[in-house]
């Protein structure tokens, strides 16, 4: 039955659809096809989530080859949540991308654009679904390579997209290299690439090779998820990529890298690994510094997309902070923030894309008086902005709240109260950069240019995401519970039986 193949379906459907998409003649057709594929994947991912929530982790041998011969897909609760999230965002962003791409991309390239989009999507899903460490690398590169292309496609409107893509390519490849070197070292020691087997064989083991492998892997992943100070590629890439690409990447690619990190941190190495404490200390400090540094930089940028990109770096700091607590609450909070931030950043970047569509600019100066000329877009942007600040009744408040509670419950070298004050202080920085944009939108006089009307196909996804932002600020109990359960399955028992053995 087809449902037996659930873990693999959301990954391979977009992968096989991509070449077909390339053959479709025009933007609307290719875009609609990609949208359809995203919806189908989302449906399967949601079914997968429901199944996993009910029966626990699912294993699937690719091509019928069981472990240790074949590649095993393994989806637990944390994975199912991230897969659902990624496919949900794809389902929302793809229809938005149709009109946006017609505007921002050379017509002859739009079919390729959507094909790349699908491959990127497939890669991201694959990273999450797989239970094989090397397969993580493969999918990470599938998504990264397609991302470099997607960023470069922004060149029609701004040639700087090319240098941004090139920088991203170089740095991303360095990250991938580090990652694969680390994997090689681990393979040397254990002779396996299957995550559960890796876990079993690494239990209690500790030598220089493993430590080197550990360091290589997390440096590589750190680069991929734009951990401060390895975030250099992110602001430019997000700023000059086409609007729809930014909306999708900002909410998914770093999140998936965070997920991969959680996998390696907890499932593969676990707490028994002696080096772990030092690593958590690193994440704590880098997370905190990243929060402040990136938020401060964001305040002084003149380009709204750039401001939001730096804000993303800062928000990754929050997630690292939650992970560094190494408690169920902390990791649960990080997962909640992964979800909430993905939702709010998509909302924000889609609104920015709508402004770009209407006025052809994302400079702050173009935002003057938008409250009067583009009230709906302004409203959507403000909802996302409030969530970014963490105002009650928006999703961002919930994630900061659980993060702060986790901080109170954690034992750290830095007193938890100080951490809480830092979280609050960095929220104040967010008030400053969001406030600056809001001020321009609401209180400055409009420029003389009349904005183009934004089509419904772009408006509807934006409004939907704004509604989701509000919804998960009001009724968050389900989300918080499921994220906590996912964190429990990651921490307490590793892959379901690892740590408990």
């Amino acid at each position: 039955m087809i449902l037996d193949d659930l873990p693999v379906l959301p990954v391979i459907i977009p992968l096989f659809a991509a070449p077909i998409c390339l053959l479709l003649p025009n933007t609307r057709l290719a875009g609609s096809f990609a949208t359809l594929i995203a919806w189908v994947s989302f449906a399967f991912a949601a079914m997968l989530l429901a199944t996993v929530a009910e029966v626990g982790p699912i294993e699937y041998g690719l091509g019928g080859w069981a472990n240790p011969l074949g590649i095993v897909y393994r989806v637990d609760l944390a994975g199912a949540i991230v897969m659902t999230l990624v496919s949900l965002l794809a389902s929302v962003v793809f229809p938005y991308a149709i009109e946006s791409a017609r505007d921002e991309i050379v017509p002859s390239q739009t079919s390729a654009f959507f094909a790349m989009f699908l491959i990127c999507f497939s890669g991201l899903m694959g990273v999450v679904a797989t239970g094989d460490a090397f397969n993580v690398f493969v999918f990470l590169e599938i998504s990264s390579l397609s991302t470099y292309t997607l960023v470069a496609l922004g060149a029609k409107r701004d040639r700087r997209a090319l240098t941004a893509a090139f920088t991203y390519l170089v740095l991303g490849t360095i990250g991938a290299t580090f990652f694969v070197i680390g994997l090689g070292l681990l393979y040397q020691v254990t002779g396996t690439l299957n995550m559960t087997d890796l876990h079993d064989r690494l239990q209690g083991a500790d030598n220089k090779v493993i430590r080197a492998g550990y360091a290589f892997i997390f440096t590589g992943l750190g680069l991929k998820l734009a951990m401060f100070p390895m975030h250099r590629w992110l602001p430019a890439a997000y700023t000059y990529a086409p609007s729809a690409v930014t909306a999708f990447l900002a909410s998914t690619s770093t999140k998936v890298a965070i997920y991969a990190m959680l996998r390696f941190l907890f499932t593969i190495f676990g707490f028994s690994f002696g080096f772990a404490d030092i690593a958590f200390g690193f994440f704590l400090v880098l997370g905190l510094v990243g929060m402040f540094y990136a938020s401060t930089v964001a305040i002084f940028r003149e380009d709204v997309k750039m401001i939001l990109a730096y804000s993303s770096v800062a928000q990754i700091g929050y997630m690292l902070l939650g992970i560094s607590f190494a408690t169920v609450d902390g990791v649960g909070a990080a997962l909640v923030h992964v979800f909430q931030h993905a939702v709010m950043k998509t909302t924000l970047f889609m609104a920015v894309g709508a402004v770009f569509f209407a006025l052809g600019s994302h400079r702050l100066s173009a935002y003057k008086g938008l409250g009067k000329t583009m009230p709906v877009t302004t409203g959507v942007f403000l909802i996302g902005g409030l969530s970014l600040v963490g105002v009650p009744l928006t999703g961002g408040f919930i994630s900061k709240w659980v993060l702060v509670q986790a901080a109170f419950g954690s034992v750290q070298a830095i007193p938890s109260l100080l951490i809480v004050l830092m979280i609050v202080a960095s929220s104040l920085l967010a008030v400053a950069y969001v406030g600056r944009i809001a001020w321009t939108m609401l209180l400055e006089e409009p420029t003389s240019r009349t904005p183009r009307k934004v089509p419904l196909a772009m408006m509807a996804p934006m409004l939907l995401m704004a509604a989701v932002t509000i919804y998960f600020g009001i009724d968050a109990e389900g989300l918080v519970n499921i994220c906590r359960a996912a964190a429990e399955s990651l921490l307490d028992t590793g892959l379901g039986y690892g740590g408990a053995m």
Partner: protein, 496 residues
């Protein structure tokens, strides 16, 4: 009367009091083109709101504590309302004076041919709704949420003139209020939740004896709240208040003498009684420190007020000084201290609103803002200046006016705690009040009219003078009925 106020259930009344202004807002927005209907809608929704708040006020007086839960975001993290006497009082004052102020606004805004009047009335609707949310909040989170809504909704009012000065003032206003509330108040709220697992307001406090052996930690927490609610204008976070004087006078009169500033001091009183527990605060050393900061605020603000020639600025500094009386009462945390603070909320609201409305009436009639230009004006506008004198005497604390009692209670409280310095400060402050509040009126009556002055000045329009007289008479009435008010607030100090 009884029958009238039991016509709606109390839950309905709580929801209704916050929804009615918003319904009013919709009408105001749609009646943009016909100013008379638009203002009628404002007043009508004000009256409906007043009906609801009166219903609640009456019921709470008979011992009811109506509750209304709206949203539960996470277990223990919810938006809910629960009314107690102090909140019922604040709600009644805010909604009652809103009606008076709306009438006054009509005279003022039309007299000045102000632009954007629809926007002005709309923002007022949101502000009053938020103020009631603060008054009826059932936990710290709800309080915080509406506190922020109040800040944001009053911002367009402060910057109403839309010139450079308004923007600069608005920036300070927003910066200080948002900065302190997010930087200090929010960590305080989160911390309380972290320690106790709840943010509910419970009589006697929810902290219990968690902090008995940690005076420093308790002190830090108290400080987070005392300065975090910067709407209480405790120094050094007071500059937003003088800066907010760039707003049209009705805004200063209602928001910066009643709704906004009282939301701040109400918050301080409320967390003292319902979060920290008055008994805990009374024993705390940190409370004594904040007490003296409040005392210093009282004096310093008075001295600054004396140097101000702009009447509104002088009144603003007077407000800073008067608000600190309430913080002082809360930090004394004795029976008389709390009652003094609670009654000062009502008494100062009436007195200071009278003063501001008079200042606005003078500006409407003569376009004069500076005290030095007001010589001899009393003879042409006697009604305005007599109302001014009544308001000023109430603030100073002269019988038979409402302002007498709170100061009396606070003095009693300081006698109780045996703090002679505090008594001296309170007396000195009253003297200073005389020095800076009365001269403008005295000079208006006594000094000759300067020669170069045009003599075409008339009394201010009726719509400006009558509301000022209403609140002035209110000062008189409240003096007489203070005993009832004290009895009404007594549940707050149960067991002290």
């Amino acid at each position: 009367m009884e029958a009238l106020f039991s016509a709606v259930s109390l839950e309905t009344a709580i929801a209704g009091s916050m929804i009615a202004p918003l319904v009013g807002l919709v009408f105001v927005a749609f009646l943009d083109r016909s100013p008379n209907l638009r203002e009628s809608a404002s007043i009508a929704s004000g009256l409906v709101t007043l009906f609801f708040t009166l219903t609640i006020f009456t019921a709470v007086g008979t011992g009811a504590r109506p509750e209304l839960a709206i949203i539960e975001m996470l277990p223990g993290l919810e938006i809910k309302f629960k009314v107690e006497p102090l909140g019922a009082l604040f709600g009644l004052i805010a909604s009652g004076l809103w009606v008076v102020n709306t009438v006054y606004s009509i005279g003022y805004m039309r007299g000045h041919d102000a632009k954007g009047q629809t926007r002005f009335y709309m923002a007022f609707c949101v502000a009053i709704s938020a103020a009631l949310g603060i008054a009826y909040a059932g936990n710290l989170l709800t309080f915080f949420l509406f506190y922020e809504v109040l800040t944001i909704s009053t911002f367009p009012l402060v910057t109403h003139e839309r010139n450079e000065a308004a923007r600069a003032g608005g920036r300070v206003y927003l910066g200080i209020l948002m900065g302190t509330s997010i930087g200090l108040l929010l960590p305080g709220v989160i911390w309380v939740y972290g320690m106790t697992g709840t943010t509910d307001f419970v009589l006697g406090g929810i902290l219990g004896d968690v902090f008995t052996n940690m005076p420093l930690v308790f002190g830090i927490m108290l400080a987070l709240f005392a300065w975090g609610t910067a709407k209480a204008a405790l120094m050094p976070f007071h500059p937003w208040l003088p800066n907010a004087m760039v707003a049209p006078t009705p805004v200063s009169a209602f928001l910066h003498a009643v709704a906004v500033v009282k939301a701040g001091v109400f918050g301080v009183l409320k967390v003292t009684v319902y979060t920290f527990g008055a008994a805990n605060v009374a024993e705390s050393v940190a409370a004594d420190v904040i007490l003296y900061v409040a005392a210093a605020s009282i004096l310093i603000a008075s001295f600054i007020a004396m140097t101000q020639d702009n009447l509104k600025a002088r009144l603003a500094y007077s407000t800073v000084s008067q608000l600190s009386y309430i913080t002082l009462g809360a930090m004394l945390a004795t029976k008389m201290g709390i009652l003094g603070g609670g009654t000062q909320i009502a008494a100062h609201a009436l007195g200071k609103m009278t003063l501001f409305m008079c200042a606005g009436a003078i500006a409407t009639a003569t376009h004069k803002k500076y005290i030095s230009e007001m010589r001899g004006l009393g003879r042409v506008m006697p009604y305005t200046f007599i109302a001014y004198i009544i308001g000023a005497c109430s603030i100073i604390g002269l019988p038979p006016l409402a302002g007498t009692w709170p100061k009396f209670f606070l003095m009693l409280s300081s006698v109780e705690t045996g703090d002679l310095v505090l008594i001296a400060i309170l007396i000195l402050s009253s003297l200073l009040n005389i020095v800076y509040l009365l001269p403008p009126a005295v000079r208006a009556f006594m000094d000759p009219v300067p020669r170069d002055q045009v003599s075409e000045v008339n009394e201010a329009p009726l719509l400006s003078v009558v509301p000022a007289w209403l609140t002035a008479i209110g000062c008189l009435i409240l003096f007489i009925y203070m005993g009832d008010l004290v009895r009404y607030l007594e549940p707050l100090v149960e067991g002290l």
